[in-house]
């Protein structure tokens, strides 16, 4: 059986996008935003009714929309990405996440928790899950994931 | 009432212990009493006992919707201490600790008060400063509390890990030696038996359904599932259900009721000599005389009357317990349960008169009412007998939420206790 691996994701340019309507953000940034909460479209995840997260190629710059009723913040260094890949990826996450991870469809992405740590979980493929976690929680989370992979 | 003694034990032994009388008779309600206490927990039974014993009101009934001692009296972790920060609280809780001393003799019933000491662990500079402040404040109020170095703490409680490498190192501890535990059922039974012996009626399976008031607004009696019972003085000592009963008298209270859980391990030989609390790790533990490790969890976050809590709360508690006491990691937990605690905005109780003449209240003890059982009973009885609060409970009014004179002990309740 193929091994399930836990690795650091490549660096991203991360932007937190907030506005009352997705159209306002699309006009400013030129990005296509998903409309459905907890879904990803391309590089962008819809986290809530007024909140999106863009994971763009490292170094990408966005128009920050100065003076417009939008909030676009560069959070590239606030969090890091962890990729879990392999046939048991779902099981690994289920060890600490109260969501029914096995039933989450590909393309689903949401903010949730792992034990007591807040994460963003993105199912990119049947056997690939991308996790975003705040930098200061990352060592603990990696340790917890490693241990659950040993279990 | 039979007086328990070595002689009574010997006499009963000769009869092969077949002839012990019941602790108290289960009474049926009479049409009228001089005073009624709502709620047959330790606090309510204590109030009835002191009304009859100290304040000369013997025509008293205690009415209870379930069974005696089946509410929070039977659902707590039996911790006794009085090391509270503010003067008002220190006097209130220490009044109770003074009554715990000698309670077994007073009731002629062993409540198993054990002064094994309550130790609060300091894990960081903030803890040290805060505990030392408590110690100084307590001493000014005549409440014993002392600072221990890690080595002294270890000598007092050998299972403690004082290694500086620990995840939460023990930098010292505050110890109240008069603190400890008592046997919760014995407290309820002891008060019930003694009160019953003085003529108090204890009426179980009798829920209050209404409070009848006269044209002057004063209390005339209570409607119950077993009929109307008249009384000019009604004391409500109903913990988590206080809001519901006060609503019957047209009063709205600053209370919210939350589930609070506790759990015990399988019984083991004596390994844990005192009560240890850690506010930082959010855990506390003691060992009962039966050998079970008694562990208190936190409250659930939402209002509920369900008398059960969620499993993830217990999970967090056990994670904290195994963090500071790794030896518990392989023990099995035997039972867990929940009670409904009534919490006030300032985490101090409400004990005194209400705007309705003849209606008195003892509530809002939140997560830590057991320790106050004799004191709360005595002060509720005093307030009912004199229609005025004792100077100890005078600050614990309902009006303080209007005047702003709060007694903010929220820090004392960092861990449910």
């Amino acid at each position: 059986m193929a091994e399930t691996t836990i690795t650091h994701a490549a660096p991203f340019a991360r932007y937190s996008l907030r506005a009352r309507t997705p159209q306002a953000l699309e006009q400013v940034t030129g990005l296509k935003l998903p409309r459905k909460i907890n879904n990803a479209r391309g590089d962008v995840i819809c986290l809530g009714p007024d909140e999106w997260l863009a994971l763009l190629p490292d170094g990408a710059k966005l128009n920050m929309g100065d003076g417009l009723p939008v909030s676009i913040a560069d959070i590239s260094y606030r969090q890091i990405g962890i990729v879990i890949e392999g046939p048991r990826a779902v099981e690994l996450i289920a060890a600490g996440c109260p969501l029914d991870v096995a039933r989450i469809p590909v393309g689903y992405a949401t903010r949730t928790i792992f034990e007591l740590v807040e994460i963003i979980l993105w199912r990119q493929a049947e056997t690939r899950i991308h996790i975003e976690v705040w930098r200061s929680f990352a060592p603990w989370l990696c340790e917890a994931l490693q241990r659950s992979s040993v279990d | 009432m039979m007086r328990y003694s070595a002689f009574s034990l010997f006499a009963q032994a000769l009869k092969k212990h077949q002839d012990w009388p019941e602790f108290w008779p289960d009474a049926a309600p009479k049409p009228a009493y001089d005073a009624i206490i709502v709620g047959a927990g330790g606090h309510g039974l204590g109030a009835a006992y002191y009304l009859a014993k100290k304040y000369g009101i013997r025509n008293v009934a205690v009415i209870e919707k379930g069974w005696l001692g089946g509410g929070n009296t039977g659902r707590n972790t039996t911790i006794i201490r009085s090391n509270y920060l503010y003067d008002e609280s220190a006097h209130l809780y220490d009044h109770a600790v003074k009554l715990w001393d000698g309670l077994s003799q007073d009731l002629n019933f062993n409540v198993m008060y054990s002064k094994r000491g309550v130790m609060m662990l300091a894990h960081n500079v903030h803890d040290i400063q805060s505990f030392k402040r408590h110690i100084h404040a307590n001493r000014l109020n005549g409440v014993d509390n002392e600072w221990l170095t890690p080595e002294q703490a270890k000598a007092y409680c050998p299972p403690l890990n004082i290694s500086p490498d620990a995840r939460y190192p023990v930098l010292g501890a505050a110890l109240q030696r008069r603190g400890g535990t008592a046997r919760h059922d014995s407290v309820a039974w002891g008060y019930a038996r003694a009160a019953s012996g003085l003529g108090v009626d204890i009426i179980q399976n009798c829920a209050v359904t209404g409070i009848r008031r006269g044209s002057d607004g004063a209390v005339q009696g209570v409607e119950t599932t077993r009929g109307y019972i008249a009384a000019k003085k009604v004391g409500v000592s109903a913990a988590g259900n206080t809001s519901v009963i006060m609503d019957m008298a047209g009063l709205r209270f600053p209370l919210e009721s939350y589930p609070l859980q506790a759990l015990v391990s399988e019984p083991v030989k004596p390994v844990f000599p005192c009560v240890v609390m850690s506010n930082t790790v959010h855990a506390y533990m003691s060992q009962s005389d039966k050998g079970e490790l008694v562990i208190g969890a936190g409250t659930d976050q939402y209002v509920s009357y369900s008398q059960r809590g969620a499993l993830h709360i217990i999970e967090h508690t056990l994670a904290a317990i195994t963090e500071i006491f790794p030896f518990t990691a392989r023990m099995r937990m035997l039972r867990s349960w929940g009670g409904i605690v009534d919490v006030t905005p300032d985490r101090s109780p409400i004990l005194g008169k209400t705007p309705v003449p003849g209606l008195y209240v003892n509530c809002g003890w939140g997560t830590g009412g057991f320790k106050a059982t004799p004191g709360a009973g005595d002060l509720l009885a005093y307030t009912m007998a004199h229609d005025a609060p004792h100077r100890i409970n005078a600050p614990f009014t309902l009006e303080r939420f209007r005047t702003g004179r709060l007694i903010d002990e929220a820090a004392a309740a960092a861990v449910a206790h």
Binding site: I37, G48, R111, T112 | R252, P254, V303, S306, H312, R402
Partner: protein
């Protein structure tokens, strides 16, 4: 652990993702200094705390981040419904 239906995500999600935020539909007085002590006490401290239907606020803090309202039975702990903030009391 509850499974709570978030009206914004339109999904049932585990209680761990939510923070309870007290009784619902308590509006902050528009002009606090015009209130007397009794009304201010009532706003700050007095709570319904009913045995039965309870209107309460929750926040999907580890999810979409939104506050919303719920009706729950405090004896059975069963949720009757949840609805978006700003919608009328159910």
């Amino acid at each position: 652990m509850f499974l709570i239906h978030c009206p914004y995500c339109d999904e049932k999600r585990p209680e761990n993702e939510f923070a309870y935020a007290g009784e619902a539909h308590i509006a902050r007085p528009a002009d606090p200094s015009a209130l007397d002590d009794k009304d201010w006490e009532s706003y700050l401290y007095i709570r319904a705390n009913p045995r039965g239907r309870h209107h309460e606020r929750w926040r999907h803090i580890h999810g979409c981040g939104r506050f919303f309202n719920a009706v729950r039975d405090t004896v059975s702990d069963k949720f009757e419904s949840t609805y978006k903030a700003g919608e009328p009391r159910k």
